[in-house]
């Protein structure tokens, strides 16, 4: 971090009258494809959804839409099911993100270890990204098989004497939420792992050598060198993953459908049911806007954090 700080000072100190106009335009030029794509394919549909959220009678109706202002928001806000979905989503996403971080970091450190030969390492790397290469519907199908009352997981638990009866993982109101969270953890950590692997490559060996000369043990090396170096990646990943996990739909829909009795109802399944099962597309749009607001709240923190890190 000190590096970039000094670098910034030196660039800032550069005389640059000739550069000034170019330097003003250059960043936008580099960003132009991004801006174009995001405005056309992102902001327009989002604006449409925002407009829907202020109307009544959209999409699945013959009646002309009517403007009802914040009516949909009020309705959603006082809907107990919405609040339950919100709570479930926060639990599901929070636990997932935390576990993703821990697993991803542990596996990356293990795979980065100098104590293991190159070939076994390569093999392990491939095994470790396995959960990542399957589409969400297949992951749902696979875990439904595994967690079936007559599935392998129960078979192993009973054989090992860890359980007496067949456990109804996905159909019990107590276990369904932990079960889908576990599945999401399993399917999501490789993304962190790969990013951390790349990040670990970027940490200079000199830093570790210097630390060792100062007499630091491996725990201290991790705490004072590895973690701070990975911090920007950790923050970005955690924020993005949180936002993505709140959108996780297929996995939940195809394992529990939000049941039993809404115990695994997430904002995503709640929104889907509003839009396509109840035909309340306007209310679904309002929910989407609320989710957007929550995500933006997280994003503002992130951007502020980035700015602090840069300055």
């Amino acid at each position: 971090m000190e590096h970039s700080h000094t670098a910034r000072v030196s660039i800032g100190a550069k005389p640059r009258s000739r550069w000034s106009l170019t330097r003003k335009l250059v960043p936008y030029a580099y960003l132009s494809p991004t801006i174009l794509l995001l405005i056309v394919l992102s902001l327009i549909p989002i604006a449409t959804v925002f407009v829907y959220s202020l109307l009544d009678n959209v999409i699945i109706t013959r009646n002309p839409p009517s403007f009802i202002g914040l009516g949909n928001y009020v309705e959603i806000f006082f809907d107990n099911h919405f609040r339950q979905a919100l709570t479930n989503t926060l639990v599901f996403s929070g636990v997932s993100v935390l576990a993703h971080l821990l697993l991803g970091l542990s596996f990356a450190l293990l795979l980065n270890s100098k104590l293991i030969g190159a070939v076994p390492k390569a093999l392990f790397r491939v095994i470790y990204i396995l959960p990542w290469v399957f589409t969400a519907s297949i992951i749902a199908i696979l875990w439904r098989l595994l967690l079936n009352p007559n599935g392998v997981v129960n078979f192993l638990l009973i054989t090992l004497g860890l359980a007496n009866d067949q456990i109804e993982w996905l159909s019990s109101r107590q276990l369904a939420l932990p079960a889908v969270t576990f599945i999401n953890i399993w399917s999501g950590y490789p993304f962190y792992m790969v990013s951390f692997l790349a990040g670990l490559q970027g940490i200079s060996d000199d830093l570790y050598e210097a630390g060792k000369i100062d007499g630091a043990n491996s725990g201290q090396l991790f705490r004072y060198i590895t973690l701070p170096q990975l911090k920007p990646i950790i923050i970005s990943l955690a924020m993005l993953d949180f936002i993505w996990t709140t959108h996780q739909f297929t996995l939940i829909w195809m394992t529990t459908g939000g049941g039993p009795t809404r115990t695994t109802e997430m904002l995503s399944t709640f929104t889907y049911k509003l839009a396509f099962s109840s035909n309340e597309f306007a209310q679904a749009s309002a929910t989407a806007m609320i989710i957007l607001a929550i995500s933006m709240f997280v994003a503002v923190f992130y951007v502020r954090n980035q700015r602090l890190a840069n300055d």
């Binding site: 399957f134 200079s204 989407a288």
Partner: protein, 283 residues
């Protein structure tokens, strides 16, 4: 006992702990997938047999031959590869340019743009589906590869930009200056210096982008219509019928889909270990 032996004994313990950790992790990651793999060789009924067996007498390659001899399903594979590769290339290209801009320049609206980039992926895709669908139809892209490629870029770009910005931020600005003093342009700095150094980061963003494009279902389903445009996740969903599922074929299709992806990863992982990292350059 000399110092050296203590050291190597400690190292031995550390090595065994690492191996144990690696094996446990591999079981966690691999066992469910092993089950998926085994199921692809079973008959549909035996997949549900209790007590479960990894391999049973229903072992057959029938599911694979069904998938591999069906030209429609082969087309799904082709489509998925084409779309995923193009999405990866374009995302990296656009993402690197944007990340460079965010990392190396200060400009007005920087924070706002940053927020927008994060914000655009904060709306649940389910609700975006219908307005998005309408937009794609209006643009005349419905049922084309471009519909999928551009759509996926909207989802992959934010991550690519954030990550590339992050990686570029870790690279010292003295590198830029050295090139500038030699008379190089900012473009030279980016492509000749920063990009080669950032290869590990680029590869991991590329892998992520590829996976996302490879596994996406909702938009692939909505924005395409004919069989010659469908991708593998839809092909898998088509095996989930109204009254019954073709379990073993779904599994076989997933295995076939994952093999080339794993191969790609195997090839590219040398970039993670290549030592072409920011750290070694710094030193």
């Amino acid at each position: 006992m000399t110092k050296a032996t203590t050291h190597s004994a400690g190292k031995g313990i550390a090595t065994s702990l690492t191996v144990v950790g690696l094996v446990l992790g591999a079981l966690f990651a691999g066992l469910p997938v092993l089950w998926l793999f085994a199921a692809s060789f079973k008959s549909n009924t035996r997949i549900f047999a209790y007590p479960p067996q990894l391999i049973d007498d229903s072992f057959s390659l029938a599911a694979y031959s069904t998938v591999l001899t069906n030209p429609e399903q082969l087309r799904y594979f082709f489509n998925s590869y084409l779309v995923s590769i193009l999405v990866t290339l374009f995302t990296l290209l656009v993402g690197i340019l944007a990340g460079y801009s965010f990392s190396r320049y200060d400009f007005r609206f920087k924070n706002l743009l940053n927020l927008i980039i994060i914000g655009v992926q904060s709306v649940p895709p389910i609700t975006l589906m219908i307005p998005y669908f309408g937009l794609i139809v209006t643009l005349g892209l419905y049922n084309s590869y471009w519909a999928l490629i551009l759509t996926y870029m909207v989802f992959t770009l934010p991550y690519a930009i954030i990550m590339m910005t992050g990686y570029f931020n870790t690279l010292p600005r003295e590198l830029d200056e050295a090139v500038m003093i030699d008379g190089g342009s900012s473009f030279t700095i980016l492509w000749r210096v920063l990009v080669p150094i950032s290869l590990p980061g680029i590869v991991s963003v590329g892998v992520y982008t590829f996976m996302l494009a490879w596994n996406e279902f909702l938009f692939a389903l909505t924005l395409t219509k004919t069989n010659d445009m469908r991708t593998v996740p839809i092909g898998i969903q088509l095996l989930m019928g109204q009254h019954s599922f073709e379990w073993n074929q779904m599994m076989a299709m997933s295995v076939l889909g994952s093999l080339p992806v794993l191969l790609l990863f195997l090839l590219f992982q040398r970039y993670f270990i290549a030592g072409m990292s920011a750290g070694s350059i710094k030193g």
